[in-house]
């Protein structure tokens, strides 16, 4: 269960619209390495974790990613709200505008809509945590590319830098959780029950 907090995790106040930047930043909303994918990946994987630390870290990082999803949505919203049709056309957002106006829609920068195929829940805690380590690095790399593209806009750069730093902390915590799971699985021999046979009739 979640409770909404009417406050952003990090403040965002973008004074001037700039739909060109919104066009690329939207990728961290609904793209393959975006915050929606991250939150759903972790919150879905947590059910299958073998130890308390891994369940907790997936739960708590998954929750923080939801706060980041709101931040990225806020950036896109503030960059597009009130933009003129000319600005939208010039930014190459005519196709987006046709389908979504200036709503915030989960899609990648290249235009394809959010795809749950990127969630990667493999039914294997080691594979899942390795995936999460990769996901955090890919998100960091994406933020670095966005920081390059937004270099002239300090209002946008500031929250992007914050979000990039969070990816690094999450990577660290997932690494620690992975070591914990590896130790636990090495403690005794596990027999995987592939048939999900719980004894119920």
């Amino acid at each position: 269960m979640w409770t909404y907090n009417k406050m952003l995790q990090y403040p965002i106040n973008i004074k001037c619209t700039d739909p060109r930047l919104a066009k690329v930043i939207i990728s961290q909303y609904g793209g393959p390495d975006g915050e929606l994918a991250a939150s759903l990946r972790y919150l879905s994987q947590r059910f299958g974790m073998p130890d308390q630390n891994a369940k907790a870290i997936l739960n708590d990082i998954g929750t923080e990613e939801l706060a980041h999803l709101e931040m990225v949505g806020t950036i896109v919203h503030q960059l597009t709200k009130g933009a003129s049709i000319k600005e939208i056309e010039k930014a190459g957002l005519s196709a987006y505008y046709t389908d979504h106006g200036v709503d915030v829609y989960p899609q990648a920068a290249a235009g394809f809509p959010f795809n749950a195929g990127v969630l990667a829940c493999k039914g294997d805690p080691i594979a899942n945590l390795q995936e999460d380590l990769g996901a955090e690095q890919k998100a960091r790399a994406t933020y670095e590319k966005l920081i390059d593209l937004c270099r002239d806009n300090p209002d946008v750069l500031d929250p992007l830098r914050y979000l990039r730093e969070r990816e690094i902390v999450h990577f660290q915590r997932f690494g620690e959780a992975l070591r914990g799971v590896q130790d636990k699985l090495a403690e005794k021999k596990y027999y995987m029950n592939h048939n999900n046979n719980c004894g119920c009739n």
Partner: protein, 113 residues
């Protein structure tokens, strides 16, 4: 305006209840800086709590982290109670005499908190 003016809802009177007060528009402008500052302090504490929580998930025996976590939780609780009484609710589980959840701006709106 009396806070209790519209209280004919059948609720039991509870003066001790923590409620958001209503403010006049001029008070809001004056308090804008103070609000910004308090909001920022809350955000800082919430951030420290999140960061410590993630750390404690993988280092549950670290007493120093645990102690800091306890300290910040206490501080943010006091600050949030104070903030919400004056500037309106941050969550829907903060009781109000008037449904101020609708009045206060949303965080994604430009220039807000």
């Amino acid at each position: 305006m009396s806070i209790n003016q519209n209280r004919n809802c059948g609720c039991e009177e509870d003066n001790e209840m923590m409620c958001c007060n209503q403010m006049q528009d001029n008070e809001r402008t004056v308090d804008c800086d103070e609000r910004m500052e308090m909001a920022q302090q809350i955000r800082c504490l919430e951030f420290a709590i999140t960061e410590l929580a993630l750390y404690l998930d993988t280092h549950p025996d670290d007493q120093k982290a645990l102690c800091l976590h306890r300290k910040y939780c206490k501080e943010v609780k006091e600050l949030k109670d104070k903030y919400q009484k004056v500037f309106g609710p941050l969550t829907i589980n903060f009781p109000c005499n008037k449904w101020r959840w609708l009045e206060e701006p949303w965080p994604w709106e430009r220039g807000n908190f």
